[in-house]
């Protein structure tokens, strides 16, 4: 415990000295996130320094092993780091599907050589990854995917297409589910491949959403050659990796349900906008709704903590990521609804500058309960895997 307090003191001091001032401001919109990658243009010197300094300590991936450039922190230390970052309102230095999804799967399933090759560049933000999962006819029923990888001796030949690939047009590499065997039950012929998005035959087409933005793409593979060394895990056993990775994706999306670091609470935000009478938010109905929301938000945040602590203590339940995904995304949709209510008429602005950010993130949030397995799929998983209800 004494060591932990010492760690806290040192971390606090280091963060104070190294977190640039503009990285301590709340993010105004998704535009403020730092995604890294070959083509990334830093929005400010502070953003660049913050990523470099945190990556050098391995603190973009605090709990990953130091041998691949991770922070090597224990669970309690990582918690302290998180608390100390929250204390000064420090932004996350790197938003990354490599960190949130691919990395944990590589640590578990990749060869030593693959780990050495891919993990350091995830941690330092040099390579930006995208996820090739969904296909036009494989959404909630993901395992029915049909993108084909043929064995050509020294390489695989990929043909097919993906859809809802987040930031495929901006990513450097893709982790991709492909079908390597068509003559078996659908879950058994899937493999997990990594390849460079600049490979010949890869093309992307952004999909314009109701929010007017295009965070997702259609991704096409036309005779793409992928070296065999870029297969992760066992041929035809990719579904296991896919599922493991999905639990991390769900945990990440479920995290959307958390209150933003450094942000005012919903009720205080509403009070600032609508005014107060005798110290109480003037609009009684909005006050009641904000209170109900904040109660759920707080209880949800505590649930993430509790499940994390239980998992560390070996008491976790396997399907908890489904609970967090379902609950967190529904909560985030409610949050966005309340932002819209508080913003009132101004919130309707659809300008492409920052004035339109609110309405766009409100619209964007409607996808939270669809992507990464819909709310209905999560409820199916809870009902069957945890509650053991009959099929």
């Amino acid at each position: 415990m004494e060591n932990l307090e010492q760690f806290r003191a040192e971390t606090r001091e280091w963060l104070e000295a190294n977190c640039p001032e503009d990285m301590r401001q709340p993010m105004r919109s998704d535009e403020d996130q730092c995604w890294g990658g070959r083509n990334w243009v830093f929005k400010s010197e502070g953003q660049k320094l913050w990523l470099e300094r945190m990556a050098a300590k391995g603190w973009t991936a605090p709990r990953w092993p130091t041998e691949y450039g991770g922070g090597g922190l224990s669970g309690p230390e990582a918690k302290v780091l998180g608390e100390e970052m929250a204390r000064i309102g420090a932004r996350r230095p790197l938003s990354s599907f490599g960190l949130d999804m691919l990395g944990p799967a590589l640590l578990l399933y990749a060869t030593e050589e693959q780990k050495q090759q891919y993990i350091p560049d995830i941690i330092n933000g040099k390579i930006r990854w995208c996820q090739g999962y969904s296909e036009p006819n494989a959404g909630s029923d993901l395992a029915s995917l049909r993108t084909k990888a043929e064995d050509m001796g020294d390489h695989y030949l990929i043909n097919g297409s993906k859809v809802w690939t987040s930031y495929a047009d901006k990513a450097d590499w893709i982790f991709c589910l492909v079908r390597t065997d068509f003559d078996c039950p659908k879950h058994e012929g899937i493999s997990f491949l990594l390849f460079d998005m600049t490979s010949e035959g890869v093309s992307t087409k952004p999909i314009k959403l109701i929010s007017g933005t295009s965070p997702f793409c259609e991704t096409f593979f036309d005779n793409v050659q992928v070296p065999k060394a870029q297969l992760v895990g066992t041929l035809n056993k990719g579904w296991e990796i896919a599922k493991y990775l999905l639990t991390h994706e769900r945990a990440m999306i479920g995290g959307f349900g958390l209150a933003g670091g450094g942000m005012k609470g919903m009720g205080q935000m509403a009070a600032a906008k609508r005014g107060t009478k005798d110290g109480r938010l003037r609009d009684a109905s909005l006050r009641a709704e904000a209170s109900s929301f904040e109660i759920d938000e707080m209880a949800f945040g505590l649930t993430i903590e509790r499940i994390t602590d239980e998992t560390k203590a070996g008491q976790g339940t396997g399907a908890s990521s489904s609970i967090l995904k379902m609950y967190g995304t529904e909560l985030n949709k409610l949050r966005q609804e309340l932002f819209m209510a508080i913003g009132a008429n101004d919130a309707l602005n659809f300008d492409t500058d920052s004035k339109g950010a609110l309405v766009r993130s409100w619209l964007r949030s409607k996808a939270n309960s669809i992507e990464g397995g819909t709310t209905e799929v999560q409820l199916n998983i809870i009902a069957k895997r945890i509650l053991g209800l009959p099929a």
């Binding site: 009641a288 707080m298 009959p390």
Partner: protein, 371 residues
């Protein structure tokens, strides 16, 4: 704070579960009701033999000093079997108030008795029928070294069976608390049967003279201790509601796996599966709310009040949902007196009201959060 139970807390929970399922199953509550009784004195004697009434009381006053997480895990198990006892009202809430407010002599006078289970005390605060400490009209007039108390207290659950009333008074000098023996001259009491087969006492204090040492703390000086006591009561009552939610839910899921209609188990229907899964998630979330609130009490953290009101509000909503779905998913049989599920809905209704309902705590939460 690590959000898992310590080994000792887990052991206490396991032993509480084993004891209660053996000694206080729902059938015991049903038998009590059918005999026209309103409490279970023999059960309380057994609980006392195990030392439970001393769980939150400091070692110095013959308690176990096991803390609020300890009390909470026991209450959760009590919620599962609907065990009736003065554990929450006397051993947790009243004992906490005396411990917060009382002088050394007062603590020595009352706490060891409460810890042994021989003395039961109960908070007599409500006057309007709604938990509202801002409008207390019971008065305490000084008369030499003594005080004369007058006023009406409403809906004190099991108040007629308590030995000691912790009477909250208001007036110009502010909130005060007096320890009044329930047999004192001028104290009268009418009881009403309430929905979970207990009785609620409406207590009248008609010029009740008490000596100066009945005043806990100073005159008008009880506000802070009352806030702490509300936190204790809210978090611990939330723990009991959590137990009710879990038990109701488990029984309901069990029924979904058994009951057949249209030639299939009704648990195969997605309409029911999704509602059950949703409820499961809500119960998981309320577990975290309760544990955090109890831990904050033990740590006396600055977030104590916010977390306590959050837990009470959250668990009130979830237990309502759990008991309602419990009855609904059991269908017609769930509405029958013969079947047990309705007992959970009835007790939940009482717990939801006790020490401030959802609206009271959602309102308090908002005020504490600065809006």
């Amino acid at each position: 704070m690590v959000m898992i139970l310590s080994e000792e807390q887990q052991l206490l929970k396991d032993s509480a579960k084993a004891f209660l399922s053996e000694s206080a199953p729902i059938s015991a509550l049903r038998a009590m009701r059918d005999a026209g009784e309103d409490h279970m004195p023999e059960l309380w004697t057994k609980m006392s033999e195990m030392g439970w009434p001393g769980i939150v009381i400091p070692d110095a006053y013959s308690g176990l000093e096991f803390g609020y997480v300890g009390a909470g895990v026991v209450l959760e198990e009590m919620g599962r079997t609907l065990a009736l006892s003065p554990f929450l009202s006397s051993a947790v809430v009243a004992a906490s108030l005396i411990n917060q407010l009382g002088s050394e002599q007062q603590k020595e006078k009352y706490l060891p008795g409460i810890a042994s289970g021989e003395l039961t005390a109960v908070l007599a605060a409500d006057e309007t029928g709604y938990f509202d400490l801002s409008s207390i009209e019971t008065t305490a007039a000084a008369s030499g070294d003594a005080y004369v108390l007058s006023g009406n207290k409403r809906g004190v659950i099991d108040g007629h069976n308590a030995d000691l009333l912790l009477v909250v008074t208001g007036g110009n000098e502010g909130m005060s608390v007096f320890a009044v023996e329930s047999g004192a001259e001028g104290v009268s009491c009418e009881t009403r049967l309430i929905v979970d087969s207990q009785r609620a006492a409406d207590i009248t204090l008609d010029n009740v003279t008490v000596s100066g040492d009945a005043l806990l703390g100073s005159l008008g000086g009880a506000s802070e201790a009352m806030e702490f006591t509300i936190d204790v009561a809210a978090a611990c009552s939330a723990a009991e509601m959590l137990g009710i939610s879990i038990e109701t839910f488990e029984r309901t899921v069990g029924y979904l796996k058994e009951r057949e209609q249209f030639g299939e188990k009704i648990g195969t229907f997605q309409g029911l599966q999704h509602r059950a899964a949703q409820l499961f998630a809500e119960i998981e979330v309320s577990k975290s709310a309760v544990l955090a609130a109890l831990q904050a009490l033990d740590a006396n953290s600055e977030k104590r009040s916010v977390l306590a009101s959050m837990a009470k509000a959250k668990c009130s909503k979830v237990v309502r949902n759990a008991t309602e779905e419990g009855v609904q998913m059991h269908g017609g049989i769930g509405m029958t007196d013969e079947f047990d599920i309705g007992f959970f809905m009835k007790r939940a209704a009482v717990c939801r009201q006790a020490y401030g309902d959802y609206h009271f705590h959602a309102d308090r939460f908002a005020s504490l959060r600065g809006y």
